[in-house]
Amino acid sequence: MMTPESDVLLRVENLAIHFPVTKGVVFPKQVGAIRAVDGVSFELNRGETFGLVGESGCGKSTTAMAVLRMLQVTAGHIIFEGEDITDYDQKKLRPIRRQMQMVYQDPFGSLNPRMKVRDIIGEPLVVHRLAGTRLEYRNRVEELMDLVGLLPDMADRYPHEFSGGQRQRIGIARALALEPSLIICDEAVSALDVSIQAQVLNLFSDLQEKLGLTYLFIAHDLSVVRHICDRIAVMYLGKIAEVADSQELFRDPKHPYTEALMAAIPVPDPSIEAERSQQLIVGEVPSPQNTPSGCRFHTRCPKIRDECSKIEPQLQSAEDGRIVACHLHNPI
């Protein structure tokens, strides 16, 4: 199942991000580490939408920040377009960053309230010295606004004059300004009302078709992820529990955590809800500072076996070709 290297846009190998926990103010001493991401590997193929799902604290956003090299990587490699960018300095990263852009969750906090929409969308062009003449700059911004469904005559307004959905469109236009190949969407539709969320999701699909974008889509809402993603990785406490084709994952979840996540999400139809099993997993996600031994999910797993608390399962192909980190499917 190896994909030719040229089709792989981004490869993440054994990525680990640990945040030190220190004690003492004057002479801080490291007393532990929060293992936010602990050995995560995945590949993004050109033109696909890859989802990272999981509950808060599972490391999905930290992974995204690391891919953008906005965080110190503890171990592992980030390979973008065949180049290992893990140790690049700021100067070498500059041209790489043109290729990957981010759309943030909060449409209110991510736009500077004192800047006009024109300058928000055009700022990446200025930063990367691609603005050209004044006319070229104006035209490019208007083209971008048109692309995301905003009226170009709104360019001279300020962010507060826009609704949540429109602001998210502004954020998307800004991300598109540099014609990136990879867009990282970190909970990009979570703050929106359902009727607006649907508009923005459709916009993401349209843009992908038009511009051939690759998305790394991070969200906690499984139904949204299922809708937009081609492949999905389910994360739990800094590790990937399961990776699968989006349809496959939902038709036949392998990892008990994936099953639990899906059972927890209600379907908007009372007649289906009445028939669904309502078996819920107990407890809450443990602290990443003190991760459970063996399989990290064993403290909440309904299908626990003896080996689960002792031996950590590796992410590997099971008999039927599905990739999952669980002793049930990859017996020792």
Binding site: S195, S223, I228, L280
Partner: protein, 324 residues
Amino acid sequence: MNELQPLLSLTDVSVSFPTDRGLVRAVNAVSLEIEAGETLAVVGESGSGKSIMALSLLGLIPDPGKIDQGSIVFEGQNILTLNRRSVRAIRGNRIGMIFQEPMSSLNPVLTIGKQVAEPFRLHRGMSKKQALDEATKLLAKVAIPDPASRLNAYPHEFSGGMRQRVMIAMALACEPKLIIADEPTTALDVTVQSQILALLKDLTREMDSALLLITHDLGVVARYADRVAVMYGGRIVETASATDLYRNPSHPYTKGLLASVPRLDDDTGTRLRPINGQPPDLAQLPAGCAFSPRCPHVSDQCKVDRPMLETVASNHSSACFGYE
């Protein structure tokens, strides 16, 4: 109390806030009834007035808002004509409330025990010791492990899900006949969310309390509600039993909402059908139906006249001219 009378009935309730941009009607002539023991979900997007409606039931409308008109009758008493002291005797006693943010709705400098025991001290006049004993039992009921030793813990020592369990314990302390839960699980992770809602549903059933569930999540409604009221622009646009609403939605807004939610059980690759346009600005509502600027079936009448809630089937009403 008359057996045929609903537990709570709102008639023509309006709440308005004076703002720089004129008077904002957050809740506009809303009428609603809740029967004893039932779960009624109020759904709507942000700014639809669902939370303000819930706050009005407890006399908790934040300044400078006020209730302009209407009556709120709970167990035969009109809450709006009662004085503050009498409302306080109902709040937390006959009506319990659970808020969205478990972080900010608990007092960070008081122990969990003290906060859970408070309703017993206030409404039942118990001694400190008695109240703490009751609090321990209550914490056990909401599945807090080792409740006796947790009484001396402070809210920051609890996780989000545990805090919400504490909130539920406090709301249920006096076995209220009505519990108002305003987005009780929005801030929680999905696996914890389903635990909390299941707990809430079980406990209300056990005590035969009615539950008014305010939410934006149509999946949660489908799983837990008996009846649903859909709000838009400060008004109720449709009410029906949960099964009926999902099977035969009548109002174009309800239909639009249901079509715009991605579902775990639909075909992937299908396009979502979003509702066009933006939610209304409550300070500048259109003259006729508030939904008319976004409605795919808009007629000339919709832009001028305001449709009233009319019966379209048994126990099913909709406020739309298309269905008269």
